[in-house]
């Protein structure tokens, strides 16, 4: 794992966001060349929560499966949901 990001923003800005375009994250996107991943959640009635991360798989022998746009890949897990 090499970089993390979170933002709490107004719901109405979500449709016009292009978080899939990694240019959105600028310099942050240089930090983990292996995999980028993000999620968007409802945080309260007015705001959304964006979570994003960039991984660098250095340590785990059998890394946790994690999703990307192409499907599941191996990497040091950075976002676990329950």
């Amino acid at each position: 794992m090499c970089g993390i990001f979170a933002a709490i923003i107004k719901h109405e800005k979500i449709p016009s966001l292009d978080v899939k375009n990694l240019d959105f994250f600028g310099q942050l996107n240089a930090r983990g060349p292996d995999v980028n991943f993000y999620r968007i959640y409802e945080f309260n009635s007015e705001s959304s929560l964006i979570l994003a991360g960039w991984t660098l798989n250095l340590r785990s022998e059998t890394p946790t499966l994690m999703p990307t746009d192409e499907g599941l890949v191996l990497g040091e897990a950075f976002l676990i949901e329950f």
Binding site: S16, Q27, A30, D34, L58, P63, F78, E81, F82
Partner: protein, 480 residues
């Protein structure tokens, strides 16, 4: 322990909007405690498993307090998020807020789309080393949950009362020392061995195959390289050294000269270790090409001294061939290696207790500030290249042990300025001497920005360098 069923993660749908997530963990770091180590699963999974059973903020804070290792994290639990950095601040975490009360937390400062009214310059290092904050869905004002502390706090300066109580050692060599120091040196040796092994471990019995070392040829980096050579089993231990072009010196530098001496010493002691030199000469045009990247990664640390150090780190990381990069950073703060530690002692004007107290205060404060002054910036510089730094001197067990020692056990400013090449980090020098690194053990410290000539290459003789600690660099400021 009951363990919530992990939700299956499927192919991500960009339009998916998650309404019901109970827990999400984003963890940038490593966990070194054996009790949290499982060779089958990643640190993030182990941490998530433990976080998920926490019932409240206090339990989350207690769990994070227990972790050894570098990290920054953001944890989303029901209607709250928690975010923070490890005890020493080894991973960067910045934050920014706009006029609409929207909040942004990021490893590095970034320019966001115009609708957010957030530019790089809006990010600041509001999350200091060890601080854990929470934001609830009812109140977006970050609330400090607490500051992570070492399990053993630093002890006061000294218990001795007079010069006669000091262990008797020679101020002119490391051979005539005392049993007191030799016993401590043996313990440091053990701590360093453990620290190195912990930081190269990938799984229960699998270690990294190749590592790079930021290699100035000084005491700290040479000791680290020695332990990697002695206890690791690497295909390559790459020793990376950079020198910047200056009109006066061309591509010569103090660090290059020291690196060559230290390399010879290492290979003589450890002929079977696979040390490989990587000497990099950085021409002026490369400095100019990379100035914007350096400014963006370093932000919000953009003083003249930040620029010099960040520039050295940027090129060191760029040219390191491996993702694991070891550095001796932290040794000066831990063992008392800076000239200002000597100066603080001298301010005591020969009042024995006052002199040692002033020296202790300076060393202690230096260590407390290391996350804010150095570590966040250094993480940003190195991660820009998709690599990660390992800092064996900033191992919790080692730090707690050294923190428990009297100040005179770490350094000996009472030797005076002429013997500061022995008095600075005296205990660590003794460790090096015992390893057989006899030449390195007495080598005078060269600050990275001077050793690599980055300060000279950047400032071209600018007189402002003496105010480098507080003066914003014009070179970097132009980008914001």
């Amino acid at each position: 322990m009951t363990w919530p069923l992990q939700k299956a993660l499927h192919v991500f749908d960009a339009q998916a909007y998650k309404k019901a997530s109970l827990f999400s963990t984003i963890f940038n770091g490593e966990i070194y405690n054996p009790k949290y180590f499982d060779p089958q699963i990643s640190d993030t999974t182990i941490l998530s498993k433990n976080l998920a059973v926490c019932q409240n903020s206090d339990q989350i804070f207690d769990l994070l307090s227990d972790l050894d290792g570098p990290f920054s994290l953001i944890y989303h639990a029901r209607n709250k998020i928690y975010f923070g950095r490890d005890k020493f601040g080894r991973r960067s975490l910045l934050s920014a807020t706009n006029s609409e009360g929207e909040i942004f937390i990021s490893s590095v400062a970034i320019n966001l789309p115009d609708m957010f009214k957030i530019r790089m310059k809006n990010f600041s290092e509001t999350v200091l080393a060890g601080q854990i904050f929470e934001i609830s869905s009812q109140n977006f004002e970050p609330k400090l949950v607490g500051k992570l502390q070492l399990k053993q706090p630093f002890l006061p300066a000294t218990k001795i009362q007079s010069p006669e109580d000091l262990p008797s050692v020679s101020p002119s060599n490391l051979v005539q020392t005392s049993e007191f120091y030799q016993n401590l040196a043996q313990k440091i040796d053990q701590f360093l061995e453990n620290s190195i092994l912990t930081r190269t471990k990938i799984s229960s019995n699998i270690y990294a195959k190749n590592v790079s070392v930021f290699f100035s040829g000084g005491l700290d980096s040479t000791v680290i390289a020695y332990y990697l050579g002695k206890y690791g089993n690497f295909e390559t231990i790459e020793l990376v050294n950079v020198t910047f072009w200056t009109a006066h010196g061309k591509f010569t530098s103090p660090d290059r000269e020291h690196a060559e001496s230290a390399f010879l010493e290492l290979t003589k002691l450890l002929p079977d270790a696979n040390f490989v030199k990587k000497y990099v000469n950085v021409p002026t045009e490369d400095l100019e090409k990379q100035a914007q990247n350096i400014a963006f990664s370093s932000y919000p640390r953009i003083t003249i001294i930040d620029e010099s150090l960040a520039t050295s780190l940027h090129f060191l990381a760029q040219h390191a061939s491996h993702k694991h990069i070891f550095s001796g950073l932290g040794a000066d703060e831990l063992f008392g290696g800076y000239t200002r530690h000597l100066r603080a002692f001298q301010k005591g004007e020969e009042n024995f207790l006052q002199s040692w107290q002033l020296c202790f205060d300076e060393v202690y404060q230096e260590f407390q500030r290391i996350g804010e002054r150095n570590l966040g910036r250094d993480d940003r510089m190195i991660s820009f290249h998709g690599k990660e730094i390992r800092l064996p001197f900033l191992d919790e067990n080692l730090v707690e042990f050294v923190g428990s020692l009297d100040i005179f056990a770490k350094c000996r400013p009472d030797f005076g300025a002429k013997s500061w090449n022995l008095g600075a980090k005296y205990l660590l020098r003794l460790v090096a001497q015992n390893l057989g690194l006899t030449e390195t053990a007495t080598r005078m410290k060269q600050a990275m920005q001077f050793g690599t000539r980055s300060a000279k290459a950047l400032n071209k003789g600018n007189k402002k360098i003496h105010k480098a600690d507080s003066t914003v660099s014009d070179n970097l400021a132009q980008f914001f």
